[in-house]
């Protein structure tokens, strides 16, 4: 295939990318970016994890070490599948705090410390440079494959020149679409869409090659499996240390690689996309690695012995004469490389400009108490610094590629880079899960881990006799053999990568935890720690600005914000905030809440640390202090207490209302009772009076036979006795009700009292067979009360039983139980009892069950009993569920409150 054609295809492909990115930007500007912000696009954009290293290098890796290549995908799969642990929290924090990069996240978490931002930026640049070089190298190599294969014997132009052209083109694309807008939260629609397209291209390309290899060359699935068994990869030399270590490193890298953080967190438009990505991205990885092993095995089988296994994806179709397939594969590799470089350089440029260039420029231009007016065009500065940074990052990659010679296996470079970025992991996870993590701890851990990584892995990798001499490698620096880079503290025989990983991570974690334990975080740090760790708990929102900032001039802040956000955006923001405070115009009050919101808005453009510093400069007030924190906590506590008090009060009111309602009900009922009582009593008095009057009128007749006269006189006498009894009872009741009864308190044996009562009651319906069951031994006890009254109660109960018990063989059981200082006497008969609805009224006056005439009482008996018992300090209750009518008389053995009674 002519090289010119290849270049032409590349140019066409790149121009398609341009058009797609441009169209996406246009749509987003017109506000029709819905499908651009969908979950599939988000998932596809994550695929920049699969760089040219995956596309070409994985096959080479598999050809060298068999199945081990798969660990690079297992780690990310676990992290994505476990999104509920870390990713969800990271994305939420990223959205809430408007994080612009991983350096910004770390710096913001640890008190907006720019030192940490610089450290993380340096680490990211250091670790990414070889990676970018790797991409340039793979593109150059793939060009070389086509060139060397041309039948015309067409000579490959200078490899360096190819790499330069690629780097330049990528820089142009990235600058065009990556630095259009400043607010990182507005996101790069064009870039993300172009990357999603590239993700599809590389997946299709690799799948096409894989299908061709498996079904075209390998003889189907079973054929390929047989070939694997027959190849030199058949034996799986599993080294558990490397297996677990590489899985861990890959999992860490997916969280900490600047470009992964960019697409995972910064470019995330909706948390729900993460749910989709949690399975869709692992699926993508699975598809990307599905055919790696077959391609490697078939390549080893068919290609000449000296062929570079890293390029099997290209050379295998070429050698089989499938030019178009090879071209597709080439485009896939080209996509992988370009998408990675574009996003990585955007992420790195954001970090460099936010954490290095802008703070430096501010420090130079803005000495001390500067006015906002002296601030030049920050917006232009930041954009320019990003553009230059993109160029710088690519230039670094290019130079690394030129000087490293580009000979190493792709996989080795990628892994070195992974271990470097994994050093951010402890600070990252500690920052979002541990409130006690401090910025000194984080700095110590980062620097320590970075140093070990540099010494034990990075520098030795640059090349023999490069930055570390052979002598140092074998004998250690200054002859100190325990400091040999690949055998620290005399631990030899370990795989160099695993050795560096173990040492760097242990040093990192140890310094991080120890440093955090012994140092004290500042107020801002504690505030941010709280906000990050408890991000799902929305109630813990406190402003990062103290009360000392009242001096801030809204006008200065507006001037400054315009320079960063652009005039229109800044004015809109200020106007909205003023409106929210109920003010017209553009100048809201500079309350701590407003400052916090403004800072967050600015942070989306220039990073948290810079935004904080800028507002601090303008407002000239100190940021939040420990006193402020305590004051805020106190306020919250006060509000809590106040609302608890309110609640208690409302409960109390409800209780009072309930009590009032009950009292009212009772009063209403009593009033009805009183009316009923009056009509009842007139009726009761009237009946005997009527008969007395009638019979006395008859007696007035002169000629009445003697026996009739005697009978009528008898009736009159009987009726007036009934009347007297009724009046006696009423009088008695009234005395008892008013607690004015004279009590003759004396000692008696309960047994005797019950016997007396049974005797006296036997005159009631004497014709009836009636049996009384008693428990004599239990009855013997001395009781100190008004015995006559008590006997009256007993008589009443026994005669009631005699009267009303409707059993054929009436039996009354009298049970006596002593309960401490009280005694309970139960009268239980075997009749049908009292219906439930009547139980409530039997103790009321004139309450009579059944036919009143048959019973022949006024219905005052139980009412009197109740009043007597109340006077004796006891009670009488109906005892339900005993198989018949049952009453329980309960009274103290020794009457108390006698004196109280007397005093009344």
């Amino acid at each position: 295939m002519p090289f010119d054609l290849l270049v032409a295809v590349c140019l066409v492909y790149v121009s398609v990318l341009f058009i797609v990115a441009f169209a996406a930007e246009g749509r987003a500007l017109r506000g029709r970016a819905n499908w651009l912000r969908s979950a599939p696009v988000y998932t596809l954009s994550l695929s920049i994890y699969c760089t040219a290293w995956t596309f070409y290098g994985a096959v080479g890796y598999a050809a060298r070490s068999g199945l081990e290549f798969v660990t690079i995908y297992l780690g990310p799969t676990l992290v994505l599948v476990g999104w509920w642990w870390a990713l969800r929290k990271l994305v939420r924090i990223g959205r809430a705090e408007r994080v612009t990069s991983i350096a910004d996240l770390i710096s913001s978490r640890f008190g907006k410390s720019n030192l940490l931002g610089v450290i993380v930026t340096a680490m990211a640049v250091l670790a990414s440079t070889p990676y970018i070089a790797l991409q340039l190298q793979s593109v150059t190599l793939s060009f070389g494959v086509f060139a060397s294969d041309t039948p015309e014997g067409w000579a490959l132009p200078d490899q360096g020149a190819t790499a330069l052209w690629v780097a330049g083109g990528l820089a142009l694309f990235t600058i065009l679409f990556g630095t259009r807008n400043l607010d990182a939260n507005e996101r790069h629609h064009g870039v993300v869409t172009a990357i999603a397209l590239e993700a599809v291209v590389k997946l299709v390309a690799l799948l096409a090659v894989g299908i061709f290899v498996v079904w075209g060359l390998g003889g189907g699935v079973s054929g390929v499996l047989a070939r694997i068994d027959a190849s030199r990869l058949a034996e799986w030399n599993l080294d558990f240390g490397r297996w677990a270590g590489l899985t861990f490193v890959a999992g860490a890298a997916v969280l900490t690689l600047p470009r992964m953080f960019q697409v995972l967190v910064v470019e995330n438009a909706d948390e729900r996309h993460l749910a989709t990505a949690s399975w869709a991205f692992p699926l993508y990885l699975l598809l990307m690695s599905l055919f790696v092993l077959p391609i490697a095995v078939v390549g080893l089988e068919r290609m000449p012995a000296g062929a570079n296994p890293d390029l099997f994806v290209l050379t295998l179709p070429l050698s089989e004469g499938r030019g178009m397939l090879a071209l597709l594969a080439f485009l896939g590799g080209f996509s992988s490389a370009t998408s990675m470089v574009i996003v990585a350089s955007i992420a790195l440029a954001t970090m460099v400009s936010n954490h290095v260039v802008t703070p430096l420029w501010l420090a130079l231009r803005w000495p001390g108490r500067g006015q906002a007016g002296h601030l030049g065009d920050v917006r232009g500065l930041v954009l320019m610094s990003r553009r230059i940074s993109i160029g710088g990052v690519l230039a670094l990659g290019y130079f690394y590629y030129r000087f490293s010679g580009g000979t190493e296996a792709l996989a080795a470079i990628g892994l070195i880079s992974f271990v470097g970025t994994a050093q951010i992991l402890p600070a990252l996870l500690g920052g979002i899960y541990w409130r006690g993590a401090t910025h000194w701890g984080a700095a110590a851990g980062l620097v320590g881990g970075l140093a070990v990584w540099l010494y034990a892995l990075f520098l030795p990798s640059v090349g023999e006799g490069g930055l570390i001499s052979q002598a140092v490698m074998t004998h250690g620096p200054f002859g100190l053999s325990w400091l040999r880079p690949q055998a620290l503290f005399g631990i030899e025989g370990l795989d160099p990568l695993l050795h560096a990983l173990l040492w760097s991570m242990s040093v990192n974690v140890t310094l991080f935890t120890l440093g955090s334990l012994v140092t004290m975080p500042g107020p801002m740090e504690r505030l941010q720690g709280l906000a990050f760790v408890n991000i799902f708990d929305q109630t813990t929102g406190t402003g990062a600005w103290g009360r000392g900032t009242a001096g801030a001039e809204a006008e200065d802040l507006l001037t400054m914000s315009q320079r960063i956000l652009g005039a229109q955006v800044a004015q809109d923001f200020f106007q909205t905030q003023a409106a929210a405070q109920g003010k017209a115009g553009f100048l809201p009050d500079t309350t701590p809440e407003f400052l916090t919101r403004l800072e967050r808005k600015l942070a989306g453009s220039v990073g948290a640390a810079t935004a904080h510093a800028m507002i601090a400069q303008v407002s000239r007030g100190a940021a939040v202090s420990v006193q402020d924190l305590i004051a805020v906590a106190g306020e919250t506590l006060e509000i809590k207490e106040y609302s608890a008090r309110l609640e208690a009060k409302s409960e109390e009111l409800a209780r009072t209302a309930r009590a009032l309602r009950e009292a009212n009900d009772k009063l209403t009922e009593l009033s009805i009772q009183k009316d009923g009582f009056l009509s009842q009593i007139s009726h009761e008095l009237r009946t005997p009076m009527t008969s007395i009057r009638a019979f006395s009128e008859i007696l007035m007749e002169p000629d009445l036979p003697e026996e009739m006269r005697a009978r009528y006189a008898e009736i009159i006498h009987e009726e007036s006795r009934r009347l007297t009894r009724l009046l006696d009872d009423l009088l008695d009741l009234s005395v008892l009700e008013n607690r004015r009864a004279q009590l003759n308190v004396g000692v008696a044996n309960l047994h005797d009292l019950i016997s007396r009562a049974a005797m006296a009651a036997s005159s009631t319906r004497p014709e009836r067979a009636f049996q009384i069951e008693r428990d004599f031994p239990a009855e013997h006890m001395a009781i100190f009360t008004d015995t006559d009254r008590l006997v009256q109660v007993f008589i009443n109960l026994i005669s009631n039983a005699r009267k009303y018990c409707d059993a054929d063989r009436a039996v009354l059981r009298i049970e006596v139980n002593r309960r401490g200082e009280r005694v309970e006497v139960d009268f239980i008969d075997n009749g049908s009892g009292i219906p439930k609805k009547s139980q409530a009224v039997i103790f009321e006056k004139f309450a009579r069950l059944g036919d009143p005439a048959g019973a022949g009482g006024a219905g005052l008996g139980l009412a009197i009993c109740r009043e007597i018992m109340a006077n004796l300090g006891g009670s009488i209750d109906y005892l339900p569920g005993q198989g018949g009518a049952a009453f329980r008389v309960s009274l103290p053995l020794r009457r108390r409150g006698a004196r109280v009674q007397a005093a009344r």
Partner: protein, 152 residues
């Protein structure tokens, strides 16, 4: 704000959701364990060729994880949607903004015209929390309806 007490027992739907969150947390641990299992086979020391078998095992586990994650993501998506809601509103804390209280007085509007003296003004923000309660629970049947009193 005192409503921070989470319910002790959940309805069936929320209970399912909680368990699904647990499953989402357990899934990566499960996957990690399965992927570390090959170390126990010690394929390096076994004489039989095991790369092919190992690949089938690893990719099989992978597929199972993807299917499980997809099912969980489907189940958990509504949870995320619910959580998003409070975030969409203003950043102001709801209990400090006075919003909910301002909504309370309308419940008093249909209240009897009688107790005009207890109707709280809108500025006594915490008041309405308690007042409607007492008004609603006040005795509906006065002791003496015929008594004219000072009402109305």
């Amino acid at each position: 704000m005192p409503k921070t007490t989470a319910p002790l027992f959940l309805a069936r739907r929320s209970y399912r959701r909680r368990r699904m969150m647990d499953a989402a947390r357990l899934l990566p641990i499960f996957g990690l364990a399965l992927w570390m299992v090959p170390a126990l086979w010690q394929p390096a020391s076994s004489p039989a060729p095991d790369t092919a078998r190992g690949a089938i095992y690893l990719f099989g586990v992978w597929a199972v994880l993807i299917v499980a994650a997809a099912l969980l993501a489907r189940g958990l998506a509504p949870t995320l949607a619910d959580e998003e809601e409070p975030e969409g509103g203003p950043v102001v804390l709801p209990h400090l903004g006075g919003g909910p209280f301002r909504g309370a007085p309308p419940s008093l509007v249909p209240a009897p015209e009688t107790e005009t003296e207890t109707t709280p003004g809108p500025e006594t923000t915490p008041g309405p929390e308690t007042d409607p309660e007492t008004q609603r629970t006040a005795p509906p049947a006065p002791l003496d309806p015929s008594k004219p009193g000072g009402r109305g």
